[in-house]
Each structure stands twice: as C-alpha cells, then as structure tokens.
C-alpha cells in the first residue's frame, strides 16, 4: 500500500508539471495584458510597463522563470489586487470556500443517503416517490435559484437568518443549504438505484437464508456495496464544491476563491490564473487518489496494484 501511494505521488508530480506547462502556454494565448488601464495608455507607455513586469520576454523564458519561482513556492503577486501575494490570497480565501464546500458536502451526502436508503427499502411507496421528486428537483434546478429563494423568504420575509456576508455560523446556513441541494439529489438517486440492485442480488438472498439480521444485511452487505458508484461521483463533486462556487459566493457575498477563479481569466491576471489552476489540479488529483484508496477499503474485491500487504 505504501509503495502504491508513493508511486501515485510520483505520477502526481508529473501530472502537476504537465498541467502547469499546458496552462501557462494556453494562458499566454489570451488576448490583452494584465494591466488595468490598458485602454487609456499609449503604445509607448505600455511598452515601458511590459518591460517592468517582464511581459516582453519571450514566452519560453517567462515559462522557465515561472517554473523556477514555482519550485521555490513563489506564485508571484496579483495584478488585480495590486501587489498582493498570490499565496496569501489563496491561503485566505480557499479555507472559506472549503469550509462552505465541506459543510454542503456533509449535509448533502448525509441527507441524500438517508433519502436514498429509505427510498430503496420502501421501494415504490410514497416515500420513494417523494424522494424521487426531491432528487429530480435538486438536479434540474440550479443552486442560485434556491439561493435567491432562500435569501428572499428566509432572510428578508422571515428575517431569521442573515441575508449575506460571512461572519458567524448563522451566516453559513443559507449558502450551505443552497449548495447542498445538488449533492443531496445525486446521493439520493445513486444510492437508491444501487441499493435496489444490490438488495436483489444473490449474496443478499444467501445472507437472508443464513439468517443475518435485517439491519446487518442493509448496512454490512447492502450499503457497503452500493457506496462504490457514489464515491466515484462524489469525489470530483467535492473538489468543485470546495474550490469555490462563483454564483453562491456572489449571491451571499462570501469572500471565497470562486470569484478570483473566474475574474482572473477575464482580466488576464496571470499569477492568479496559474495559482488557482494549480491548486485546483492538485486538489483534484489528491481526491482521486483518496477515492482509489477508499475503493479498496469499501470493497475488498477491488485490489490496488501491490495492495496485498
């Protein structure tokens, strides 16, 4: 297992290097420069500024310089938030996005799993139908609609929760709920389908024949097997939730990373583009690794390479 993880970490480094390279050159294909008053400055004035910010160097040279700094952990400074170190921006804003993302993931997955489980057990009952309707709504209606509705009815009309901002636990409730709807729906649907299938399989029949208790069947055999596809979809979803969601963060005015992610591209803020992309990539690869490890634990039939020890 240890060797396997080490090997995977090696691949991770190579993947990160490739991602850094590709995104750097793709980014350089964007039109314009990170300067803010580009529209107003004359050609000569722009030249002086390009020189100052090393934007005149040939792209391969810029790339080598960037990699050099990256290896030393220096991601540069932002242009949009003048002179602020990218690492500081990421370090301050990612935790906020991650906090919201994790709360939403936990809430969504737990309620979703309960809903899916109940729906599977009470297959074709009214509970099942209700759960189905809930998950269809959750998947088809975008989160910002829920956010808007919650904000208006709970925040303005009832006035029991703050409308926006990020101060206390109370402030996190509405954004968490809005964000949790999607994972909730996905979890409910996947678990229901899988459970129904698993509960119909031969080994469950065998287990029943052997006299295993109902709850034992459900949790030890049923749920454990039904979890695999769920883990597969939830992993990447967790990444996207935790790395900031532009819309929810904007509606509730949350100082997360979601906005930097998007505006850095439209404003050509190169250091931020690279910083957020690399972080996202790193996080994504890491989650995939964790999922692969989880597979083996949930289902011993799935063997990892060299996983015999």
């Amino acid at each position: 297992m240890a060797r396997y993880i080490l090997q995977r970490l090696g691949y991770m480094l190579i993947t990160m290097f490739l991602i850094a390279t590709f995104s750097f050159f793709l980014m350089k294909l964007l039109p314009g420069s990170p300067l803010k008053a580009e529209e107003k400055l004359s050609e000569a004035q722009l030249e002086i500024l390009y020189e100052k910010y090393d934007l005149n160097d040939p792209v391969p040279i810029q790339y080598i310089n960037y990699l050099g700094n990256l290896v030393q952990g220096d991601l540069g400074v932002s242009f949009q938030l003048n002179n602020q170190p990218v690492t500081d921006i990421l370090a301050n804003r990612i935790p906020v996005s991650a906090h919201l993302g994790i709360q939403a993931m936990i809430l969504g997955t737990i309620i979703g799993m309960i809903l899916g489980l109940v729906a599977a057990i009470k297959n074709n009952s009214w509970i099942d139908y209700t759960a189905n309707v809930v998950s269809v709504i959750g998947i088809s209606i975008p989160s910002f609609i829920f956010a808007g509705l919650l904000q208006y009815y709970v925040g303005v009309q009832l006035g029991i929760l703050p409308i926006a901002f990020w101060d206390s636990f109370k402030h996190t409730i509405m954004p968490t709920i809005s964000l949790a709807i999607f994972p909730l729906a996905i979890a409910a649907r996947f678990l229901r389908t899988e459970m129904i299938e698993v509960l119909g399989s031969d080994y469950i029949v065998t287990a029943r024949a052997k006299g295993v208790s109902n709850s034992g069947i459900m949790f030890k055999h049923g749920l454990r097997n039904a979890l695999i596809p769920l883990v597969t979809v939830m992993g990447p979803m967790a990444v996207s939730l935790m790395t900031g969601t532009l819309v929810i963060e904007q509606i509730f005015s949350i100082p997360g990373i979601g906005e930097q992610f998007v505006t850095s591209v439209t404003t050509d803020d190169f250091p931020i583009i690279m910083g957020t992309t690399l972080f996202y990539a790193f996080f994504f690869i890491l989650i995939i690794l964790i999922i692969d490890i989880l597979y083996g634990i949930i289902d011993p039939r799935i063997r990892l390479a060299g996983g015999k020890d």
Partner: protein, 571 residues
C-alpha cells in the same frame, strides 16, 4: 485486517477533511447590520449638493455597498473609480473637488499662485495637517509621491498617464531619459511647493484633486517596502476618514472611521462608514429593503419596480458611449454612409427600454454637465447643442447617396461589441435598427470579452465598434484629443486637417487664452459631428436606491464617484 481497513478509511476521511478545512478566523468584523437606519421620511429628497443648511441628527453611521473590492490603496497604483473613491475619503491632496466640481483647498492653504505664462505654480501648504502616525504633512510628501508615481521602476499605470506632458520632464523620466529628481516639483520649504509644468495646462487646478497627485509619507512608505498598502495596517492617512479592517486578500468588508486628527475634522459629521462588497444586485436590494444598508445600485430589471419611489435616484455620469466607425472600410470612409448609420438608431428607445437607468441619448462628442465656458459659465452642451440626432428619413437619404457614390446596392459590416448581457442586448437592438432603416445593410455582430475587444481595437481590426469613454480630467480635451490623426487612440483611421488644427491650436498657442481655447473645442466638435466620425449613442446614468435621510453626499464627475466629507444623516 478488517479493523485496520476501517481505521484507514477513517484516517483517509480525516485527512481529506483536514486538507480542505483549515478554515475559521477568516470572518470579518464590522457590524454591518445597521439597525440605526429605520428612516423617518425625510422631507427633502435632494440630498446632493447641500453642504450647508441641513442639520445632522441621529446616529451618524452610514452603511454602504460597493460592487468591487478596493484593488489598491496605493495612490501610485490606483487606476479605477473604486480605488480613487477610498483614497479620496482617507487621503487629502492639495485640493479636493467641492460643490459643482470646483476645486477647494485641502492641504493647500489657499489658491495657487500661478506665473504669467501658466508654467510655474507655487502653493503654500497649511501647517496643521498631520498624518495618522502624527507626522506633519509637508511639501516633501508631495515631491516623494509624484516622483514615485512617474518612476518607471514603480510600474505605475496612471503615473505616466496623468503626468506625462503635464509635469516638466515627466515623459522623459518615464522613458528613462532623465532622472526622477528632474521632475517639475520641488519643496521650497516644508510648507511651500513649487510645481513646474511642461506647458500651461488649463485644467491643472482640477488635476491636483486627482488621486495620482496625493501625497505619501516617504518614511512610512520606505519602511513598509513591499508591504505598503497591502492592508489598512500598512497605511497611514491624512484625510477626513481613516480606513480600518481592510484586507482584500481575506475579506470583503471595511470601515471608514472619522479621522479626529484631520485638519478640517469639525466639518466631517459622519462618524463611521461601513462598506461591504456585494456584486449581486438582488442581494443589494434585499439588504436595502431590510434597512441594513443605505444605498444600493440598481440594474435595469429592478428599475421598473422602484422607479417613482422616494428612495429611487438616478445620477448622470459624464461617461459617453458611441459607435466607432473604421474608415479603412471603404463604405465607412464615405461620409453619407456614416451619417446614415449615426442617424438611423432610435437612441431614446435605447435608453428608455434597454438601459432603463436614467441614461440619456447622446447627440455629440462631449457629455452634458461636464465643463462650462470659462467666461459665460454656460455648459458645453448648451453652447453647441445637439449635433447628430436620430432622423430616420435623413438617414435613408444619406444612405442612398452613399450607396450611389460607392456604386453598390448592399453593404456588409462587422460590428464589434461586448459580451455582457446588457451589451449583447443593446448590440442586437442597434443591429436591428440599422438593418431595418438602411436597406441593403447587413450587420454581423461579434460579441467578445473586453480584453479581446481592446486587442482588436488596437489592431484597428473592426468595421463598427461599440465603445465608451470616461473622463480623466475636467477639460473638453479629455474627449476631443482622442480623435486627432496622431492620437494614440485613433484606431478608426479618421483624418481631418481642420479638426487636427483646431485641437492642436487649443493645446498649444491658446493654452493661456481660455475663452478662445474653449471656442476651438466647440468648433472642433462641430467638425467631428459634421463628419459623423463617431455615432454618439448615450450618456450613462446609474440608478440607485438611496436612503432619503442621507444628505450632503457630493457626486463627482471624475476620479471617485462620491465624496462623503460633507455628508450627514438627518433623521
């Protein structure tokens, strides 16, 4: 084995949680739920422009929203209205824009002493102004800040933009051809500043109110080094308010507190201004409706709902939008074709239906309420009137004449526009107006992001472009210099010798003869519009929900949008 596996699972889960959840401690303070804003109906909804007369009553706390983070609080690096807004509240330059956009003394003790030729400005400074660290504000602070802004090593964008060709040697210094010490500004004594200009700049007085010309305390800035202005902790102030809790890398809220050490502190009535960044209009409106904030800007879809209420206000901005027509295109090189395009669009419907925020149709190249004649005091627009109005019949005639001259019966034109919702809606409307009125015209819209549009503009790679401009100083030249043959902004290949000559004369021989200079601008605009070099569309306004009890907020035509020095709350 099984036990170990479950343990591993638990650990993996823990690890993933740990990796992602290093949260906490990042929430910002600043109590934004101002419960003090229950309004009693103010009898006067004006609010603007009355610095005297009203009585401040109730708690003097203002809760505001902004649509963007403050990008920087370093005056050498500020480039946008948000940065200039908060620099303007917390810093004081030689002058400050007062009522009717007239410069009033700030750190300067009185009016400047200007030499006969308009080149040398001597300004006495007040001796009672201090920085928030206790240091006195001296002439050296101005010298330091201005040199810093023009020094190419600083990498300032607005330094060269605002100072080149204005301050003596600025251009040469920025190009690296002269030393920064040669900049035309020197401290004669601690409290006397001598400024030497490249030429007599008629609008220099108002330029001195601009953010780029603010002072900086050399000792503090040098001490802070790279950390200068990164958070409110790394700043000192000399203006009406001090900034607190500002840390753009971590939170989106900040507070302005009254600066008790400000030289004119007794004028300042507001105790505190709390600001939060909210980009979503519906959220702003919800916060306004529940009384948490005192102002919310509105987008078109909300205007209908609030127009006519006591809280609804529109503020005109001197920002113009127009179609640039590239004369490299054979059809657009024809004056009749350009006139036809300029006259074919119903601008009234455009501002009423598509924009719906109080914007007004523009029929010339200089906005309304921007500058006045130096002698008569009449507005530029009143003097020159409407020069290029909507007239569909005339448009059709010009169109036919143009087609005949070109010897064709149809024309196809590319149209470069923005990719925002309003922009695409507006461009579709304009396309429709043009194609419907002008028979044989096909307009092909490309909606591109802002950066892409700039790139194509610089490369002159467009036929028609929907473009806009905000002023940088209070002078008609900020609008009219753009359209000369040798202007760096001339990407549409328009050349008119008469126009060039008028503008050149205004910027050289007539610099000290202000009325004659102003007449040149009036003439030049007529030439420009007669040529239909650009097709003016509209002058932008912004719509707000604005608590009627908030008074005395000044609206500024350049730099910052508002000034709160004289603001107060009357409950």
């Amino acid at each position: 084995m099984r036990k170990a596996n479950w343990l591993l699972l638990a650990m993996a889960l823990l690890l993933s949680v740990f990796l992602a959840a290093c949260s906490g401690g990042s929430s910002s303070e600043g109590d934004n739920s101002g419960d003090d804003t229950e309004t009693t109906e103010g009898t006067d909804t004006e609010g603007e422009g009355e610095t005297e007369g009203g009585e401040a009553s109730g708690e003097q706390v203002l809760n505001l929203l902004d649509t963007s983070q403050i990008p920087t609080m370093d005056s050498s690096h500020a480039t946008d209205a948000v940065a200039f807004q908060y620099l303007g509240e917390t810093m004081e330059g030689l002058y400050r824009l007062g009522e009717n956009a007239e410069p009033v003394p700030g750190i300067a003790e009185g009016e400047p002493e200007v030499s006969e030729d308009g080149i040398t400005w001597t300004i006495k400074l007040r001796e009672d102004a201090v920085w928030s660290n206790g240091d006195p504000v001296t002439a050296h602070d101005f010298v330091f800040a201005w040199r810093r802004a023009i020094n190419p090593d600083t990498g300032s964008e607005y330094g060269p933009f605002m100072m080149n060709d204005v301050l003596k040697n600025a251009t040469a210094i920025n190009n690296g051809e002269a030393e920064v010490e040669e900049l035309g500004v020197e401290a004669v004594s601690d409290y006397e500043l001598k400024i030497t200009l490249e030429k007599a700049v008629p609008y220099f007085h108002s330029l001195l109110t601009f953010g780029t010309y603010l002072p900086q305390n050399e000792k503090f800035v040098t001490e802070q080094g790279d950390d200068y202005a990164l958070t409110s902790e790394n700043l000192i102030f000399n203006g009406p308010f001090v900034l607190e809790d500002w840390d753009p890398k971590a939170n989106e809220q900040w507070t302005l507190k009254k600066n008790e050490d400000y030289w004119d502190a007794e004028t300042v009535q507001l105790e505190e201004i709390n600001v939060s960044v909210v980009k979503e209009t519906s959220t702003s409106v919800n916060l306004y409706d529940t009384g948490e904030v005192d102002r919310a800007s509105l987008t078109a879809e909300f205007v209908e709902q609030y127009a006519g209420t006591e809280d609804y206000r529109t503020l005109p901005e001197p920002t113009l939008f127009y179609l640039k027509m590239n004369q490299e295109n054979e059809a657009l090189a024809n004056q009749d074709i350009r006139k036809a395009i300029a006259m074919a669009i119903n601008k009234q419907d455009l501002v009423d239906v598509i924009l719906a925020n109080g914007s007004i149709p523009a029929n010339a190249a200089v906005p309304v309420d921007f500058t006045t004649h130096p002698e008569s005091g009449e507005d530029f627009r009143d003097l020159n009137g409407d020069l290029l109005t909507t007239d569909k019949e005339a448009a059709k005639e010009h169109w036919q004449a143009g087609l005949d001259a070109l010897g064709v019966d149809s024309v196809e034109l590319g149209y470069l526009g923005g990719d925002t919702e309003t922009a695409t809606e507006m461009d579709a409307y304009i396309k429709n107006q043009l194609e419907e009125t002008l028979e044989g015209l096909t307009v092909n819209i490309s909606s591109v992001p802002f950066e892409e549009r700039l790139a194509r503009d610089e490369a002159s790679d467009y036929d028609i472009q929907n473009s806009g401009w905000g002023p940088d100083y209070l002078d008609p030249s900020t609008w009219l210099n753009m359209w000369t043959s040798d202007s760096p902004y001339m990407t549409m290949n328009y050349h008119n010798e008469e126009y060039d000559a008028l503008i050149k004369e205004a910027n050289n021989e007539l610099l000290t003869d202000l009325p004659a200079r102003y007449n040149n601008f009036l003439e030049a605009e007529k030439v420009l519009m007669d040529d239909a070099a650009i097709a003016p569309l509209y002058q932008r306004s912004r719509a707000y929900l604005w608590r009627p009890s908030v008074k005395g907020v000044l609206f500024q035509p350049m730099g910052a949008d508002f000034s709160y020095k004289w603001a107060y709350i009357e409950e």
